[in-house]
Amino acid sequence: AEPVKIGIVMSYSGWFQPIDASTINGAMLAIKEINAKGGVLGSQIEVAKFDNKSEPPLGADGALDVIGKGAKAILFPSDFDFGAPGAFVAQQNNVISFSGASDPKFGATGIGPYAYSISTASQAQGAMLAEWAYETKGWKTAYILLDNTIAYTKSLCGSFGKRWKELGGDASLVGDDTFLNSDPSIAAQVSRINGLATKPDVIMLCSYAPGGPSAIRQLRAAGLDQPVMTGESMDGDYWAGTVPGLSNFYALNFGSFYSDDTDAEMADFFKRYEVEYGQRSDASYSLRGYSMIQAWAKAAEKAGSFDADKVGPVLDSFKDEALVVGPTTFTPELHIQTTRPMTIVQSQDGKFSFVTKISAKTVHLD
Amino acid sequence: MELCASDITVRFAGVKAIESVSVALGRGEILGLIGPNGAGKTTMVNVLSGFQRPHIGKVAIDGAGTQGRSEPWFARNGVVRTFQAVRLFRGLTVSENIEAALSSLSISRLSARRRAAELLDYMGIGGKAGLAGGALNYGDERRVGIARALALSPKFLLLDEPAAGMNIGEAEDLSRLIQQIRRDFSCGVLLIEHNMALVMNTCERLHVMASGKTIATGTPDEVVANQHFKSAYLGSEAA
């Protein structure tokens, strides 16, 4: 049969490149494996790539470019703002788009019925961290330190705070503060925590590299040794050198790539990845890339067609579909995960390791 | 009808640049303001044209006070000055230099251009309208400077060393020009110069300053006869 085209419109260069890199690698691995097994509906998958140079406006051009080349589905950067301009174009042209965005708007409500996020909603991430910290770890007071630079972190800390107060009451949140990722120093914010009469049991940090790790460094330098929790935006350990000997740190990941994940599928995926690329995956985002292709291929097989109006409904009917990133469910209304388990990864004495898998019980999506 | 500065004092960080000096310039007269270097002449022009607020004293135009007025206001109300270092708009053409000064009048660009041409002709440099202001020689630069001042239809024209760098012949031309401007514009002219020949030929009245104070006033002949003036200022030329 004719080969089928998948578009990849992501950041092959520029600021966003390191973040997209492992997603792209995961996707390329999936394509390679699927092709080796005979392709999708007998067609080999070919890739039409477009470098958005880390500039969101180029995403729309990229979408048009790969659609012009016949792409049946397009992968966009794992960030709503980066992915949306292109996904809109894909939607208008009746092409399925995938992203790892953690904003539910990357889906039917925001972009349109053909946009899917393989990720877990940031609201769910905040809720599950709150539940785990309060119920499993037994921490009773929390402090929120929010990096006010991007929408994801705002939403993460927002949902965390809401869920935390539901669990422990208003008083359990002993304070909150904001900073900007680019702030050269957060001395004032650190001093504010240090000045609290009773120190919090846990600090919820919603940020990303480099500002996030640097914030932890400054907290630790000021003698604040409380547990620090973060969402998946601080996935990976490439930044860990920022805080040498980091302890008491807990981050939400899609899976643990430190060869200790309890999920055999994932563990095996990370092994295959290492074989393929000659190095360990540097973030669990590779799971997302792989799963996007996996989801689309499965849906296309089931639909017996590459057309969006056939593939879409099949995706919408996914109920705990087994993807490497975890059991995945889409409904016609919601194209993002809320209850799928995620992995807590910790760092003690500078060593990262698997802790547990958790999922959210109560999620407020608004 | 006069521009009048009464009892002016200006200080700079303790130094008194001008101390209780009064100057009055009537329309139609040519007044010479002379004196040694650092006497306060330029500072006086700055005061008269609104560029320097006096610490004590007042400036009045035709009897009306000027408190709190800006430099452009002075220019638009007929008190126009030139600079010791001409200060043309070097990146604009000669014509545009004049048009800029005409911009305060509500006339079209076209009329402004025509008016600029008239003024340049009047100064005898009509052929240079299209040159860049920065490409002129010293003499022409000064002529454009005066033309620019004339564009504001001065009632009082304050000229700060207009003949500096001119030779004797050119200075004589300038003297005639100043008298003609006075006639054609029926304005008062305040002339600062160190070229005594020019001053003597051109001015009806002299005001002599030294070290920030008035040391003599009167007709050129009276002033030159003043022994104090001779020793403080003239040197060998008096001999």
């Binding site: 390191p18 120093s185 790790p213 040498p244 | -």
Partner: protein, 294 residues
């Protein structure tokens, strides 16, 4: 009381970093009337050098970093700024943007935009206790280094022959050469000094943040740039004072703004900057003779 001391130390240490950066920018401004945005990349590249040699003893890494930054600064002057010596301020500013952009993109291209981590001053990472106040050793070091360098530089510029020549070259380049000042050398040395200051900033800043990436120096330099201007361009103590001032205002805003308004902190900070400029267009401590007389 303890709180107030803490806030003061925070403000001074944040301000110290800005002040040091502002010194480097102010130095070049006073010598060349050039607002050098590429200073950001001097800092960034010095930090990358620290990272690249982080396996070596600190003295080695620091020496390489300083030498690298100094050479980079001198080279930049030679290639990009010397040909523009008579150009207007806007053109020079844009040229420095272009240099900055070029170096930044080159870094992204060659070393990638992912953060590199380093810990150049591990011995200063802990807090020191002073009568109940916990002060990070690094903050203290920042304040001290800033004070020492400020005094040293001021002395150098005000009291030495060389400083006089440097200011002369800044004031009137051609005339300074005509009286015998080796102006090109003098300016190159000024750039070298600014490179040195950038390397010091890189060390202290990297010790605080623990990472370096291609935009490492950018934010710092933008703030320092603002500080230089409100401090009084062409006046080094003024630039340093501006740095401290911005650091202090920013820390105080963060400390005392109600939570709802804290996200707007920068807006307040820069409104304050505008107000200062409106009140004192030449900056708080303008250099002598910057404003010409008529």
């Amino acid at each position: 009381m303890v709180d107030l001391i803490q806030i003061l130390v925070d403000a001074l240490s944040v301000g110290g970093l800005y002040a040091l950066t502002a010194l480097g920018i102010g130095l070049i401004f006073s010598v060349m009337r050039l607002a050098n945005f590429a200073h950001a990349e001097f800092v960034t590249i010095a930090a990358y050098l620290l990272f690249a040699f982080s396996g070596q003893p600190l003295v080695v890494a620091l020496t390489i970093s300083i030498v690298g930054a100094v050479l980079l600064a001198i080279l930049t002057e030679r290639i990009a700024f010397r040909p523009l010596r008579n150009a207007d301020a806007a053109t020079m500013l844009i040229a420095s943007f272009a240099v900055s952009m070029f170096l930044q993109k080159l870094l992204v291209f060659s070393v990638g935009s992912r953060v590199k981590t380093l810990d150049p001053l591990p011995m200063l990472s802990g807090p020191i206790s002073f009568g109940g106040v916990q002060i990070s050793a690094l903050k203290l070091a920042t304040i001290v280094v800033c004070a020492v360098l400020l005094m040293g530089l001021t002395f150098f510029l005000k009291k030495t022959r060389f400083g006089l020549q440097m200011r002369a070259a800044a004031d009137n380049f051609t005339m300074s050469r005509l009286v015998g000042v080796r102006a090109n050398t003098v300016i190159a040395i000024a750039f070298g000094l600014s490179g040195f200051l950038a390397a010091v900033v890189a060390l202290l800043f990297a010790a605080q943040t623990g990472f370096v990436q291609p935009r490492f120096g950018l934010q710092l330099v933008i703030i320092a740039f603002v500080a230089t201007v409100i401090g009084g361009l062409g006046n080094l103590p003024g630039a340093a004072a501006g740095g401290f001032l911005v650091g202090i205002i920013s820390t105080l805003l963060q400390a005392f703004l109600p939570p709802d308004l804290r996200p707007f902190r920068e807006a307040f900070l820069f409104t304050a900057v505008i107000l200062v400029l409106l009140a004192r267009p030449q900056g708080l401590f303008p250099a002598r003779g910057l404003k010409e007389r008529v």
